[in-house]
Subunit: 213 residues, 2 copies
């Protein structure tokens, strides 16, 4: 059912879907690849190639059928049944994500949030648990995916616990290289690198503006 | 002083630096490009090209001089003076990042954190302010960069306030397309797309494992 796609394509398909779900409200039935490309700051050739990979081709004059794209993306990247995921130590950041999925978009559902080092509730609509419940809840709810944002010093220990509890996919915000068995997929987010990138391009613009002052 | 580099190179240079700062503790003076490549799941040719762009070449037998790489990365992506940044609505996630910079790594300093919809202190070593202080603190502290993680509904209004207060670089976690003037650099983080990507590759592995059961 699921076809073999490159990492970047999978990510972009998910982004196309999110853009198109908003675009639908505007009552458009078709969209051109260059419109999608502009929003995502990519090339229209990239968009066309991605869509070709999931079996969607467009009309030269009308563009791409939005409903067809949405259906094909779902077939390509969603499984047949919703996938349960959990948040560990993710704060505010996760709230809009949880809402997005709760509204029926995509095929993931945030079914548990584990609080780290804070006693205040963050997620209004997601059951919150103490970190000591981690293994139990993951097994009970058949959770295979988590987003992990605990301090570095705890990352190793908690990862071991996660893997032993059956987790097979981790979105890793801990800024450490997680040691996991081969069957576990880890996607790292490096906030330091992103901030240094923002800083670099901000300075480039600043220098440029000053040169013309 | 600052040379013109591609976006991906800037990001990777920051990542090389972080890896090498840890690697230094092991008392190594040299490293091979394929070692750096492996940690970052990239190709050694990419590493060599990135380093060439900032004027570092390696020795075929010994590899690259780590101290030289670190100095050249700093010359390439850091400014002459530290850059003040602030966090807006960033929870736990930002804590290790703030610590990283506070320890003297890189050239950014987290000088303010603004709390959104929570009254509990998160950052032990960063002054925390109410959101109403946003404009005042940004101007006073000469902050040009921020990481933004407020709910979607507030993103537009707060972005306008940020730009008017002098912000020129935004790391955007709000899952909305921010409307900013041309001189403002925005780096988006799409957590939904990353989670869907983790889910996709997790399922690929699961199917693969089941096929051999």
């Amino acid at each position: 059912m699921i076809i073999n796609l490159p990492e970047q394509t999978v990510e972009r398909l998910s982004q196309y879907r999110r853009i198109l779900l908003n675009y639908q409200y505007l009552d458009h039935a078709y969209i051109f690849s260059h419109n999608l490309a502009r929003v995502l700051k990519t090339k229209s050739g990239t968009v066309r190639r991605d869509l070709m990979l999931i079996g969607v081709s467009g009309d030269v004059h009308k563009g791409y059928d939005i409903n067809l794209i949405l259906r094909k993306i779902s077939e390509a990247i969603d499984g047949d049944t919703p996938e349960n995921i959990c948040f560990i130590g993710i704060g505010n950041l996760g709230r809009s994500v949880a809402n997005h999925f709760a509204a029926g978009n995509g095929n993931l559902r945030v079914v548990a949030a584990f609080l780290f080092d804070q006693h205040q509730s963050i997620f209004p609509d997601v059951p919150e648990y103490d970190l000591t419940m981690l293994s139990e809840v993951i097994k009970q709810q058949n959770i295979l995916i988590c987003a992990l944002a605990v301090p570095r010093d705890y990352a190793r220990e908690i990862t071991l616990l996660l893997v032993n509890s059956g987790i097979m996919g981790i979105l890793n915000f801990t800024a450490t290289q997680l040691q996991v068995p081969k069957h576990v997929f880890v996607e790292d987010y490096d906030m330091v690198a992103k901030l240094e990138k923002v800083s670099y391009f901000m300075k480039m613009t600043k220098n440029h503006l000053q040169a013309y002052d």
